[in-house]
Amino acid sequence: MWQKPLFIIILFYLFILLQNSFFVHYSLFGATPNLVFILFFLLAFFVKKDRNYQIIYLSAIAGILLDISSYAYLGVSIVVLMAIGFMLKKTQSSLKNMADSYPFAHFLPLFIVFFIVYRVLAMAYLQFIDPSHILMSFNLSFIAGIAYNTVFAVIGFWIFKKLGKKALR
């Protein structure tokens, strides 16, 4: 019973360390993969309809780690991730039912949209944006970041589908 949450916490912890150290050396136009967000999104995506409350503790773990490793107030990421998590579940429930409950056709566009939402919200709270910054913020690094993170998310999706789905449920 307690193994699953513990395993998730360890995974989030390792991912935050990896994204802030190892993957810094593999940046693409200044963009690095946000492994914690990707893991959060994957876990939230595969949460069953009647267990939406799990979003709360998932966003609490992911958010606190993101906030500890940044200069933001503790808790801001928790709220942002929680909002994204519940929006994701709401969107998923309104999508047309398919034979596969968690199809890739849903995952990919949802990830891209919610990642952009997350980046915009992160920009709003991490950086004070003056008008001259807005245009400069949507630069090559921003686009590269979306593409780079999507690649990791897609890999994660297939790994999750093949191996982790049963283990993490």
Partner: protein, 292 residues
């Protein structure tokens, strides 16, 4: 009939109770969460410090692994010799640029005054060497904190005199450094025009501007008067106007200018001189008098 209606009402009541239970769970969860957020923020500094202290060895291992593996992968593409030569040349180039910046400053101002100022500014600094251990949103983590005499707002440079940024938050055993590429970073700079190639004249009037971070380890030059002539490869160094940083620290070079005659100022894309990926140690200037 009556029984069926009673059953239906029962189902309806159960459904409402179930929904209410879910909402109650969410509300209780939210309340507990808010309570923890409040508590966490009270103890934010020690929490971050303990987290960093506990994670530092693992993070440093990952950092070194990333550095060496990216070097190996890079070498596969570029060749080991080329890569080493490139790093050596880069270091040498930055040293030379630093010397040029100092020379230009001497030529333009009063010789004696510049000597005094250079002596005070370049050799009077008390430096603390710190190791780099993490990067997140253009915020760099270094392994020295208030226990080593570091305070908020201190300039952070490399051994070649390249400006990285300034300390943003200081904890007991580590500090967050806001890089000049961070979107909140704005610094005053001087553009040192590289006219030697064009006119044979090494000395040119310096142009004041500001470098604004645009995130993703990038920044751009702004507030350059439209009448001023700037060119690619012009070098940017810190100016002492703002007094946040010592003057003549290397910042970057212009890659491409963006000039619009209808706007009062021109902008330019920059190549920042700092390289987080290949830097292991940085220096925090402890005794630079700050404006703030």
């Amino acid at each position: 009939m009556k029984r069926i209606i009673q059953n239906m009402n029962g189902v309806k009541n159960f459904s409402i109770r179930h929904k209410n239970k879910n909402w109650l769970r969410i509300l209780i969860g939210g309340a507990i969460l808010l309570f923890f957020i409040f508590i966490f923020n009270i103890f934010s500094s020690p929490i971050k410090n303990y987290f960093y202290t506990a994670s530092a060895p693992i993070q440093k291992t990952f950092w070194n692994a990333g550095e060496s593996s990216s070097f190996i992968i890079g070498s596969l593409f570029n060749g080991v010799t080329l890569s080493k030569e490139n790093i050596g040349l880069k270091d040498e180039n930055q040293k030379l640029l630093s010397q040029i910046a100092a020379l230009q400053s001497i030529e333009q101002g009063n010789q004696a005054q510049s000597d005094v100022s250079a002596t005070c500014q370049n050799s009077g600094f008390k430096l603390v060497m710190a190791g780099v251990s993490g990067l997140n949103n253009d915020i760099l983590s270094i392994n020295k904190g208030s226990a080593d005499g570091i305070a908020v707002g201190m300039p952070v440079i490399s051994q070649q005199g390249v400006l990285f940024g300034k300390t943003l938050k200081v904890y007991k055993n580590f500090s967050d450094v806001m890089l000049i590429s961070n979107k909140n970073s704005v610094i005053n700079v001087k553009v040192q025009q590289n006219l030697t190639a064009q006119t044979g004249d090494a000395v040119a009037p310096e142009i004041d501007g500001v470098v604004k971070g645009s995130g993703g380890l990038n920044a751009y030059l702004d507030l350059i008067p439209i009448s001023s002539e700037i060119n690619p490869q012009d070098v940017l160094v810190t100016s002492a106007i703002e007094k946040s940083f010592p003057k003549d620290l290397l910042v970057g070079e212009i890659i491409q200018k963006q000039k619009d005659d209808q706007k009062p100022f021109q902008q330019a894309q920059l190549n920042l001189f700092f390289d987080v990926k290949t830097t292991d140690n940085l220096f925090v200037i402890k005794n630079y008098k700050q404006a703030n």
